[in-house]
């Protein structure tokens, strides 16, 4: 009696397993086959608009671009890349103060980096004072979590506003695709 019962429940289980375990796969494959043939043979040329390339992408900042362009002392990005070695990913940023007319000191600091993984990396210990000997250059490196890529920088600089007054000006710098290169010195 009980054996018969377990026999019946096994049969039921097998039925369910065959339907789900084999039926669903067969269905998936048949749908694939149908769609493939349907799209390729019976549908006219795909909409040219579906190619997705016309999307206007907002270009971010890259090497050669100018920061604080509306301020007295402008700064140019002359190096922006990720240096990858087997052990670590480093983000390298080099800035040049191109303005030689100003007689004042300029202080720039990277407050933080926003990463692709939505994490924030603090930029501390990376503020530079650029003494007047233009064009002055500064350079910094940050160790990134392996595989992560900065998407935005938060940079601030003390800009002169009046004779003796300075103002801290912050700028959000959305980055264009940062070049990633192998770091040969590692």
């Amino acid at each position: 009696m009980s054996e018969e019962k377990s026999d019946n429940s096994t049969k039921k289980l097998v039925k369910i397993l065959v339907i789900v375990g084999i039926g669903v796969p067969v269905l998936v494959e048949l749908m694939t086959l149908f769609n493939l043939i349907n799209v390729q043979i019976f549908e006219d040329e795909k909409d040219a608009n579906s190619q997705g390339f016309d999307v206007e992408d907002v270009r971010g900042f890259g090497e050669g671009d100018t920061l604080f362009s509306d301020q007295a002392s402008v700064v140019v990005i002359d190096e922006l890349r990720i240096k990858v070695s087997a052990q670590e990913w480093r983000f390298a940023l080099g800035l040049t103060s191109a303005d030689s007319s100003s007689q004042d000191e300029l202080e720039i600091s990277v407050d933080s980096l926003s990463l692709q993984s939505k994490k924030m990396l603090s930029g501390d210990n990376n503020s530079w004072e650029v003494k007047q000997s233009a064009p002055a250059q500064v350079y910094g490196e940050w160790i990134l979590p392996n595989g992560d890529i900065p998407t935005k920088l938060f940079i601030s600089s003390d800009q002169k506003t009046g004779k003796d007054s300075t103002k801290k000006v912050s700028q959000e710098v959305p980055l264009d695709k940062v070049p990633v290169r192998y770091n040969q010195n590692q």
Binding site: L36, Q40, I41
Partner: protein, 71 residues
Amino acid sequence: MPEEKSNPTNNNESEKSWEERNPDIVREITIDEYQPYGTLTLTLIYFAIVALMWVFMYFVEFAGNAPSIID
């Protein structure tokens, strides 16, 4: 296989064929009477699917996927 002869558990039943000893088996089918029609059917279905899919993949998916390497 050799262990067939040396297997002591089989000794008492060694005259019986495996089919006779197996409760799941309804009847024994010998080589002379066995005609694998089902297998032939399945393999022919497989042949048809493969041949059709090949033609489709080669002449539609691949040849229609220009630009191609022409030299």
